[in-house]
């Protein structure tokens, strides 16, 4: 499907800062109409007839000929219909500014790293995520120790008190996100978190007009292990927090039970800037909602030597000058 403007027929896109559908051709807002033509597996743009290459998992893309954003109906409906979506909240311009702000002090990054032309290649992607819910139960018993020390005169005292510690608690995890995309690196997607779920909405295709998107291409069961690991780490930590008053504990009984679990599919917004330096790609990912940056800029060896060499030369020259002034003028 393509979202078009009622007024001018241009491609209408979702505008993150204003949370509206916007026509960049005639500047009108909410003048959207959906074309009825159903788009399944396509190789030509239904808007201009230009040839397009669509990846096997792509659900929304841009026509390189007419810049029109296309949504592949079959990949956002039926089995692939996302239940929820967090729409983009920050625009490309805001992302460019925050990248510049973050890396402007990186003297050794290549000069064109933050160039406008390069940053304009940044693309907004709705990444498919599975969200897992778990209801778990902890049953814990241990012997806790509290140690108190004091000094009286020239004698030091250490008092150790022992307690029988019991904890019985439930933890309800909701929507632990795990990306369902093969092309997105797992560790990076974990670092892009957290997302603010209060802005989560029921899915509607309007939100992805103007962006790239993927359908899930990793099955719910195949990535569930990552969600379970996150849940186990967090629940372990929460249990430990409940007895953090003790300086040491000996565990006598510890049991965690998963009472129920469930999964849902949704889309989360991520900006991606792919910078290539000397044949190697340096990808940057920004949380499309909060702007959090994940990525490491490349280092220009030439700059490292130039700047460090100049620091060395300036210091040496200054010290030699001081020596000369004292040797010859005083």
């Amino acid at each position: 499907m393509i979202f078009k403007c009622k007024n001018c027929g241009g491609n209408v896109v979702y505008k993150p800062e204003k949370d509206v559908m916007y026509c960049p051709f005639c500047d009108s807002e909410n003048s959207v109409e959906k074309t009825d033509e159903s788009m399944g597996e396509i190789t030509v743009c239904p808007n201009c007839g230009g040839e397009i290459t669509v990846g096997p998992h792509t659900s929304a893309t841009r026509c390189p000929s007419c810049d029109c954003y296309l949504i592949l109906d079959e990949r956002v409906s039926g089995d692939y219909a996302p239940r929820t979506i967090i729409p983009f909240r920050i625009s490309k311009e805001t992302c460019k500014d925050s990248l510049r702000k973050q890396f402007q002090t990186y003297r050794f990054a290549p000069t064109d790293f933050l160039a406008e032309a390069k940053l304009n290649e940044m693309e907004g992607i709705y990444v498919p995520f599975w969200f897992y819910d778990y209801d778990i139960h902890w049953d814990y018993q241990g012997e806790g120790r509290k140690v108190r020390s004091w000094t009286s005169g020239d004698t030091a005292y250490t008092e150790t008190s022992y307690y029988d510690v019991k904890r019985d608690m439930d933890i309800q995890f909701r929507q632990i996100p795990v990306d369902a995309s093969e092309q997105m690196p797992d560790d990076v997607m974990d670092l892009v978190e957290p997302f603010d779920y209060s802005q989560m909405r029921d899915f509607s295709p309007e939100y992805i007009s103007g962006f790239y998107a993927e359908k899930y291409n990793m099955l719910c069961n195949s990535v569930e292990g990552r969600a379970r690991k996150k849940m186990q780490e967090d629940s372990e930590q929460l249990l430990q927090n409940s007895y953090s008053a003790y300086s040491a504990l000996s565990t006598l009984h510890k049991d965690m039970q998963i009472k129920s679990s469930r999964a849902d599919f949704g889309l989360l917004p991520v900006w991606r800037y792919r910078y290539t330096y000397k044949g190697q790609e340096y990808p940057f990912y920004l949380n499309g909602q909060t702007g959090k940056i994940v990525g490491t800029p490349p280092i220009s060896q030439g700059k490292v030597w130039l700047y460090s060499g100049t620091v060395w030369a300036c210091l040496t020259a200054l010290l030699v000058l001081i020596q000369m002034i004292f040797m010859y003028l005083y």
Binding site: I171, D190, L315, M327
Partner: protein
Amino acid sequence: MDYAKETRRQYLKYFRVWFMILGAALLLFLAEIGWRGLAGGSKERTNLEAPAERVYDDADVLTEEEEQLLREQIAKAEAKLKMDIVIVTINQSVEGAEAREQYGYDSGIWEYNMRDLADDFWDERRYGYNKGYEGDGVLLLHNWYPGQNGEHMSTSGKAERELSSSEIDEILNVVDRYYDSDPYKAYSRFVEKVESMLSHNGTAPLPWLLVIVGPVVVAFIYMLCSMSHFKAKDTTPVNAYVMGGKPVINSQSDQFLRKNVSHHHIDTGSSGGSGGHSSGGGGGHHSSHSGASHGGGSHRH
């Protein structure tokens, strides 16, 4: 966009303060050298009031020839140091009632009178390389009066500022070493010592090893610091996906079981105090009868 040009612009902008400081320092240095070159390579003597004589051998311990040699040596040293060097030998009592009556001294103390004699000798003849009052230079007054043998060194102007009491002592020690056997040698070594103590030419304030190694170390640290990578942190709180933000506690208990107390004796060793002392700079500052500031020190044999 021309990235090479942009790289150059960023580089110059980043180091502009460094380049400006270095450029200014270099210009000043060259200007000073140039000015000195134009001025004949050395500062001319500006005090024309003082007599040309530098050696007053009233105690007659030097031969004419030795006096002449000393005058030549002093002339060379003065040209180098831009300071006057005067040697005076006397043979008169400067101590006790006899001295007070005979010469009208304020005090009967040897040190005071030697000091006053030396300072007044300098002030009255208006010695000093650059000016006739508080000008730069040193004077050695050696008293050969039996039982009161000893010398006083009076410093003025730049010499007063630069020589500390211990340095004056060091110079007078040279005289002490030779005066008995060979007075000429004692005074000649005195001039040499003054020359070496007040001459900074050729001595660098910083060790050359530091000048060579220091910048390498700093540049290396700068390189390491600037290369440190930006790393995104895990900012997801532990309760981010927990409903209500915390676990539901069904029951919890912390029941006291027992306690035990252990104790041990602490060894308290006595702590030793340490005292410090500080040493001062320029030596023996005082004012002479004419009100001029002098430094100096005496050695009595």
